[in-house]
Symmetry: D3
Subunit: 340 residues, 6 copies
């Protein structure tokens, strides 16, 4: 029933059941001061050809993560229906208002799309978008690809991300798909079990789920974009929508990591953060991780920060300025418990 | 007379004429809604010992450029008077309100400190700070070191910056000091002759002037910070305030470049910028420099951008999001006209 | 039970059961930074005299729509109890904070009152107001008059609005009341079935419901205000609260229209909108409806917009500046399915 | 089950079951634009020693009320485990973002913490904090002390506050604890039965509950702070966590008052409020309470305000500027119905 | 000398001395937080052919006035060099940041461009733009056409505007040019002698000057746009840049009016303004002009406003909401003193 | 000449040369986005009767200081021309936009009126108001009374303020007038010689000048308002505009103090300020003045602040929250150098 009201309030200009290529939008109603009868037009595309799985490809969940949306836009423009077997549903800028504003969170309701699923068709804009994707699109899908980067606040080693499966089978499928992506590393990230992410909702809907983290810093990384372009095709070949020949040669299987409860180095002070190590460095718990400097009080001694976990420096904060609670560094730990 | 009113309105807690080390502030009056009788406390330090030149070291001209202020803070805490000959005057966070807010421009009056010199003792806060530095401190100095980084919007190859001299002698001294810094490259930047920068005012006051650009992206670069720490000591040894032994070995003389009128690649569109080359790549005028993508209109073809000058990619825009007028790339051209 | 907590938290200074005229407020508690123990005082008035239906008259649902609140204020001041039979409950500025700010949506919680019903007595201010009206006032009413105008973003042909009835009887009553209003046209608007409007909630509560759209542009229209003054009295005479003699002569029955799913012409671009036709012009689907100009890129060719439905131009966007998703024009289509 | 997800998403750095003194935080996840993987670190401390009741002491529910947080910080630093019998759990700045911003309501989600209980572990930050306190901490407690002051908008006679008990026993315990505090007066405040306050939730959880109002005006009152320091120790001695010798001599039992439905004098105008009487003055209903002046219209006669209840002037608005709905004065009425 | 620094800091991509058509920009440097080395690109175009006067056509002085910029953009795209004799210099969106934001004043420095002339090449962005136009372009011009509309706050009868001349000859030329425009009325507006408008500066520079007011309300008027298109060509034919055949037939000479010191009806209250008469109505001083309603205080009697001058209602406030000092109505008085 | 353009641009509705009582405004033109042809209406009143000095009485220089404007409004309404000898010119809310917003500084241009004199008739609004007062009104005056209170950020002992005279005669007159006011103390405040205050400009214009500080905290003080009402009449009697009988009995001559360069206790930290002493306490330099608490870091030891001067605690910061540079306390020192 939520699906009924969702479809009624949110019309799309494409027919997801039709073969061929269509590029359009779905219209989320938004009755705002400067546009009483307006809509938020969320771009969507569908390419269908014959039998085969349906893959939903999403980018722009956060509006300041660019590699995914760029790569999806190129596929939308370049792929011909005859290139595929099955169906591709693209949502390249799912949080359209955030993408237009280059913000992680929506400028309309201030909400982080990735803490919003399964959404609400009668909620605010971000919730209405999530409801459309969850209620209308997810039931059509077999595979879900959720393309993130580090965003404005984080710089992360380009990698695929493994959503923990709800069943051993799903977990194995998620790991296999993440490895098919072909990044140097693949990282299990469970967000402490938060059920409100797009990937958690997709997993709950029974799909095979794969995510990414592609550099960040609010910029476009030349290397991460190249990896992203290759990785998406690798996954589509892995699930049979593209022919095997479309996949690029992957030299070495992705090394598996996970983020544990001690992965994050958190600032307790207000200052400017200086890291001690570059991304990819091996570090041990207790080692000096960085320093907080107090630039307008030059007489004050900087404060030291230590790592809490051993492993590899996986991510770092981009803005130098930190406040208490800010995540300065993230350490990824080798992942032992994977499916065998 | 402007100097008189400046000193009267802006008391300092240190005595610049006294030998030894003092760390303090100068108080710029600010009568604001939430503090009728308050001040902006701009940190300042002085270390004096015997005869020798006076070097004024400034950081935090823009509040989101961190390597300079960090390195200056370390020197303020670590240097002993007996380590030097002459006098060091530190202004490590000259735009104190901007540094506290991690903004290029002041949150109080919205002004870019580096388009404000020579300031105004009866103007707004940024102008009052500039007036103090220009009217009270500059007359004490022989050498001025102005430590910039790329800031939130630019990522730049770490380099020293040459302020064009007002006389051939001053120009030669500026070039020599920039080379003494020991960065791989040194770049002449004249800001189209804008007289409102700190270095332009310092040059007008007759000092030897040296600047820097240290990476950027609003973050702290491990490599640039290391270069900055070495470079400042190299310059101080060059001018005789530190002993020659304090300078680090510089393997190769800085290669000289300049920014010409065609250095900048400017966006004419509203979208997300993808660069084609990494910093340091040699490029030629007319070559494809980058593309502007339209993420929420995936059917729209990206727009190409070309280089306007030949040379080396010296800087790039950090935020992916661009609007018309934004500087996407900067190309540095080999500098031929230098003093010989 | 929600009604109990609503009444407990939201005291009114008038007694709705008492005959005679009372002008007062209901106090919605608001514990804000600048007023810890304050209230939002929503104006309300009641005029009661003998037997007869209870009519609830609401204005200011959006804070930038003025004809309704002006006309209701005049009735509150001018009508004497002996002029009527039954009871009139006025809520002339239901979204009081929005009316005081001349905004469509509330400055307190950013919410559109007309996407908020049935409200929540423990929610934010707009939800608490809606809960009071829905839980406490609607049960007292037989007829609900909801007076809208086009607001800041739309200019609309002055007209009465027909809320689709939940039963054939209610629908017939709604159509009859809308025609009694005496505007040249009456338009069925169903908001795609959105259940969160005041009129949808009132219809659900079993009342006869009538709405209006009175010009707009964020201004007071001399003509629309004159129509509004007459129309309200016409409706009150129609339902028997005012004597038949209070109604004005209506020359011609309102022509019936509806807004279909293709009524709205939506911009896909960022620019300035030039319409091709004045309000009231007959147009056909596919015809040129307007152009989007790019003022800061004078070399760029404007983009054409077409109508998607045939009918009459019923409304247009007031602000020239448009962004993707903005509603530029609305076409009303003759309504065939009305009660017979 | 809400407790499970709360604990999973919100880790604490202290072990509430361990004896001795620990000072730490609980981390509420906050994935914001400027910190994708950050947290809100809410300070918490626990001191445990042997058998005895568990007392939860909370300050900073509103971020502009200072006496409670100051007094709790001093106890956290000064109390030794051997000084007590039982356990003290401190949450001295429960609305950490609001305390850091000196705002009544949270700068993150705009919410008043004291209209948020019992919270929501999947809601916005303020709701997540409330959920942690309600779901994880309240079940550990026997006594809850909630330290408020008047905040930025109100100046109030320093007093203890009695939360109405859910049972006669709880009510008697609440009154006794409030009197043990030792303020000149103790006031029953029921917020019209609003169930969303911290004290209402604590009472529902079965604890003995005591509140305070300590001056206000957004400042630190020397007298109120002294009373607050004494009063907390008095209550801890009253419930047996501190020895009787830790209590200060209270000269006279607190006089009991209550706030009735007519306690508040509300402005209907936009102007500047001039009160007629100082706090503590005895007044009668109908008496002139104050005047609203129109400073930019000096020819306009001020508007008079009258008291609606008889009793003692208990609080007044601090900011001179008032708008319709602002609470200008609060009159406390002698409380007759207390337990006997 | 100000011209030298202006040209040095503000390069243009067109050569104003070259025949043929060029469309480009001039770049005003803007070193902002989000773009350290960026520019404001102000669009400019030039069409030159043989001998003849130079006409400077400006639109977008206020960013919410659209008829002028639309008509100028069309001319830029449509006119061929061979269509003209002389030179046309177009600045169709002089306040580019304001036009992009649809604001009267610049979003960068908050300044009204039309109170900024002659500008300052070292001032903020709006002042730098004005300096470029005043110092570089005005010396090239013989005729200046400044195309205004009423903007967001005013609705005005479409008309040409006469800038008072500095000499009788210039005055006569200005009146003749305004009449050539062909609007029903032409109005002398002197802004109380304020020297900071574009037209005042242009008059001071010795040019023949003509302005317009084209409807308003922040929207695009179909009728005013048609008049504007015709009027510009009429003026160009009048001064000989277009052939006489390019002018449209004007039925009746413009009637001349002026705005006297008593033209404006100013609100002294905070409320919603209801006008009594439509634009174009003849009124007399002392007559009821409008009423201020108090929508959230329905019991309060509205306040009456009277005209202060006799004449024709020339303009009215668009937003219903008014505050003290807002201009509600403007009355134009027949102009007697014109050149004879 | 600046006077000519000032008068031309800024018309007043009263005639300052006419006997009797007039209440009106002067209109400062303000062409803003929401009101293209509007004004800022600054209230002004004049009462004239026969021969005698002209006294200019000003309030609302800062918009959050209320005692002066209230007392002046009462005089404007209550005084009859026949009550006085000479002329009174009232500017009770000189910074009208700030008064309407309850802000120290203008919401229009962000400027502190009291750092703006002598103003600029072509500057922003605050500068235009100052120019009108300085250029048009000051030349009419013999005595200037400038009524300040502590405002939102300070609580100050009610006192008269002595502007240092430009000549010994003026100084003696200023001291005598300040003592005539009848406050317990009178304080010499020179703002470090800042020439931009209203009183400094008035002194430069040759008037006898008197100021006040009346409590503060952004509220209306019952005691300070009573003193203010009496004090103004005392001064008017002192200068002969009111009869001697209008003055109230002053028990004891005002004790004279001054603020020296060490008067202010400035915070160097970010926290919450707890003062040690009440206003009026005698303190000595070096004594503990207060503490800065860190409420969200309860484990951190508070920082102590010391007095820098000996004398009496004259003022304190009202908001508990402090940042580096905020003035926490002000100590007044006995004034020895007065005229003898």
């Amino acid at each position: 029933m939520t699906r009924n009201i969702t479809e009624q309030l949110t019309p799309a200009t494409v027919d997801f059941g039709k073969p061929g290529k269509q590029i359009g939008v779905f219209h989320v109603p938004l009755s705002a001061h400067d546009d009483a009868w307006g809509v938020v037009p969320v771009p969507v595309a569908v390419i269908g050809n014959g039998e085969g799985p349906t893959v939903i490809l999403e980018g722009g969940n956060h509006g300041d993560e660019y590699e995914g949306p760029i790569a999806l836009g190129e596929m939308i423009r370049d792929l011909r229906p005859e290139d595929i077997q099955g169906r591709l549903i693209f949502i390249p800028a799912i949080n359209q208002p955030a993408v237009n504003s280059a913000l992680r969170t929506s400028p309309i309701d201030g909400i982080n799309m990735n803490r919003t699923f399964p959404g609400d068709p009668l909620g605010t804009t971000t919730r209405q978008i999530a409801a459309y994707v969850n209620d209308v699109l997810f039931p059509m899908g077999d595979v879900f690809i959720d393309l993130h980067s580090g965003g404005s606040s984080l710089d992360i080693i380009p990698s695929s991300v493994i959503e923990p499966g709800r069943t051993p089978e799903q977990h194995a499928a998620n790991v296999a798909a993440a490895q098919a992506f072909g990044a140097p590393i693949a990282v299990v990230i469970d967000n402490r079990g938060d059920p409100r992410t797009a990937t958690a909702s997709a997993a709950l809907a029974g799909m095979t789920v794969i995510g990414t983290e592609m550099a960040g810093g609010g910029t476009v990384s030349i290397d991460a974009l190249a990896l992203c372009r290759r990785g998406i095709r690798n996954v589509l070949a892995h699930v049979g929508v593209l022919p095997a020949s479309a996949a690029s040669q992957v030299e070495k299987a992705s090394k598996l990591y996970e983020l544990t409860a001690l992965a994050h180095v958190i600032s307790e002070d207000d200052g400017v953060f200086e890291p001690m190590h570059r991304l990819g460095t091996e570090v041990v718990a207790g080692e000096l991780a960085g320093r907080i400097h107090f630039l307008t009080q030059p007489g004050r001694t900087p404060v030291d920060l230590q790592y809490r976990a051993s492993g590899m420096v996986y991510g770092r904060r981009q803005p130098g300025r930190v406040r208490p609670g800010n995540c300065c560094l993230v350490v990824a730990t080798p992942y032992e418990r994977h499916d065998a």
